[in-house]
Every structure is written in structure tokens, then in C-alpha cells.
């Protein structure tokens, strides 16, 4: 025991690309899948206690730096916290939810996360997803689970010039390459 924690290794080692938007693999992020009755006070307390943000409304992404709560489904949240606090966060949530029907799973190492920055990010994402990327349908702060080309992904805009994308780690390279292709200089479509 008490060896130093292993340095987290992300799927692509922080890969970056600059095009219509910049694409960057984000550093290791704590991600805890929390499933159960979202209206249940102990579950709300477990989620907000770790994330330090309000419970998200339907489809909302409530984020504050490396912490946040993402509404994934009527019975599922993704809890974000600093990577090296994940084990502790899972333990504290398990303790609060011990006698309730709920599921707490550390999925940090099973996911990859990208950040997009720049003016054209709605168009870049719209090349890859069938989701309606208009500001009326997907305003900043709202999460959309959909697909990017052939794989599942969840994404949200923090602002009109910054977005985050979460996908399975096993397809991190595929998603990064997709985003690179969609953000290729000279390929602007100017739709959104």
C-alpha cells in the first residue's frame, strides 16, 4: 500500500489538432455512472455532494471546472470529478446509497473526452451526428447523447465557442480522427 497512484494514461496522450476548430483530448477525468431514481433524496445528495453543482434538469449538463453532473437518462447521471478523487467519491456515494436501489460505477478509464474550441463547432459536430445542432434545440449547457458517425457519443456546448465530447475509450482514436476530418481547413459549410 501507499505507493503513489499510477499516473493516469489517457487514450491518445492528449492529442491535438487545429483546424476549423481546435480539437484536444482532455486530461484524465473522473467519471462515475450513477443509476437509480433521480428524485430520491439520498441519490441527489450523493450526486451533488461529489459534484458540488445542482441536480441537472432533464438533458442538462451542470458543470463547474472538472466537476459536474450530466443528465444521461431518466434514471442515469454521469458524475464528473477530478480524476484522482474518483475512488474516494465512489466510496462516499456507495456509503450514502448503501441501503437504496442504486448503482455507482467508476467509468473514468472506460471513456475519453475531447474539447472543441472555435467558432464553427456546431457545423463540425453536425457533419458527424444526426442530432439537430441548432442553438434553439441544443443551447449551451444541454447534453445530447447521440452518435458521431458510427459510435455513441455524448456532447454539450459550454458556450458557442467551446464544446466537450465524451465517447468510449476504445473508440477514442476513431472519434478524434472523425473530429479532425470534420474540422479540416477549407471544409467550412457555414450552416449554423
Amino acid at each position: 500500500m501507499s505507493e503513489a497512484l499510477a499516473t493516469p494514461v489517457t487514450a491518445l496522450g492528449g492529442a491535438q489538432f487545429d483546424g476549423l476548430v481546435s480539437v484536444r483530448e482532455m486530461p484524465a477525468q473522473g467519471m462515475i455512472s450513477l443509476r437509480g431514481d433521480l428524485a430520491m433524496p439520498p441519490l441527489k445528495n450523493a450526486a451533488t455532494g461529489v459534484a458540488g453543482v445542482d441536480m441537472p434538469a432533464q438533458r442538462a449538463a451542470e458543470c463547474e471546472g472538472a466537476r459536474g453532473l450530466l443528465w444521461m437518462a431518466p434514471d442515469e447521471l454521469l458524475v464528473l470529478c477530478p480524476y484522482d478523487e474518483t475512488a474516494e467519491a465512489v466510496a462516499s456515494m456507495d456509503k450514502l446509497l448503501y441501503s437504496y436501489h442504486a448503482l455507482v460505477t467508476d467509468v473514468s478509464d472506460a471513456r475519453a473526452m475531447f474539447e472543441l474550441r472555435g467558432g464553427g463547432l456546431r457545423d463540425v459536430l453536425a457533419k458527424l451526428t444526426p442530432a439537430d445542432m441548432s442553438v434553439a434545440v441544443l443551447p449551451p449547457g444541454e447534453l445530447r447523447r447521440s452518435r458521431l458517425a458510427q459510435v455513441p457519443a455524448a456532447f454539450w456546448l459550454r458556450s458557442e465557442t467551446a464544446a466537450q465530447v465524451i465517447c468510449f475509450r476504445s473508440v477514442a482514436r476513431y472519434v478524434f480522427d472523425l473530429l479532425k476530418t470534420a474540422a479540416q481547413p477549407g471544409s467550412a459549410v457555414g450552416f449554423h
Partner: protein, 107 residues
């Protein structure tokens, strides 16, 4: 292209974000039923040209099953609704009759 509303996410979803689940509102005939009823439960499906009720799963989203009423010929969607019902709800039936006067549900 078919666009359906997920009642759990309250969001419009493209057909390619969904997993089709075939005909909705089937009655299960299992142990104790006669062979013909069991056969029909397993293999016989309505395949109407017109109003139809289907199961769909928001596979690339929340993962929930929901039900949809649509026209198989025009792709017009009359409405979607939660899967926890054995019969189409009244507001869905009303929406269908509004667009297809005289339509009756085959039993």
C-alpha cells in the same frame, strides 16, 4: 428519413439513433397456450400499409424503449408514447383519427 420523439428525453431523434423493435402491443402467448396462439405470437406480425404501432429503443441515447404510431406509407408520425402501456393511449388514437378519418384499429 424518419424522426421520432423520445418521450423519456423529450427530444427529436433520428431513425439512425434508434433501434427498431417491431410491432407494438403484442399479447404474449406462452406456456399453457395452444400451438396456434404460440405460433402466431412468435411469428405472425401485422404489416399494414398505413397506420402502424411499433416499438423503438433510444439506443444511442437514454436506452429506453418507447412506442410510436406512424403511417408506414407516408412516414407521417402521429405520436410516440411511453412503453409502459398495453394499449395506445387516447390522445394517440385521437391524433390518428384526426388525420385518418374513419380509421379503426384492427384487433
Amino acid at each position: 428519413m424518419l424522426t421520432l420523439h423520445c418521450p423519456y428525453c423529450d427530444v427529436q431523434t433520428d431513425e439512425t439513433e434508434l433501434t427498431p423493435g417491431g410491432e407494438a402491443h403484442l399479447t404474449r402467448h406462452g406456456p399453457g397456450s395452444d400451438d396456434d396462439a404460440f405460433h402466431d405470437y412468435l411469428f405472425s406480425r401485422a404489416n399494414p400499409r398505413g397506420v402502424h404501432f411499433e416499438r423503438w429503443r433510444h439506443g444511442y441515447g437514454c436506452g429506453k424503449w418507447f412506442l410510436a404510431a406512424r403511417d408506414t406509407r407516408t412516414l407521417e408520425v402521429f405520436g410516440t408514447y411511453e412503453a409502459q402501456t398495453t394499449e395506445p393511449p387516447d390522445h394517440i388514437l385521437a391524433a390518428i383519427r384526426d388525420k385518418r378519418p374513419g380509421w379503426t384499429r384492427a384487433s
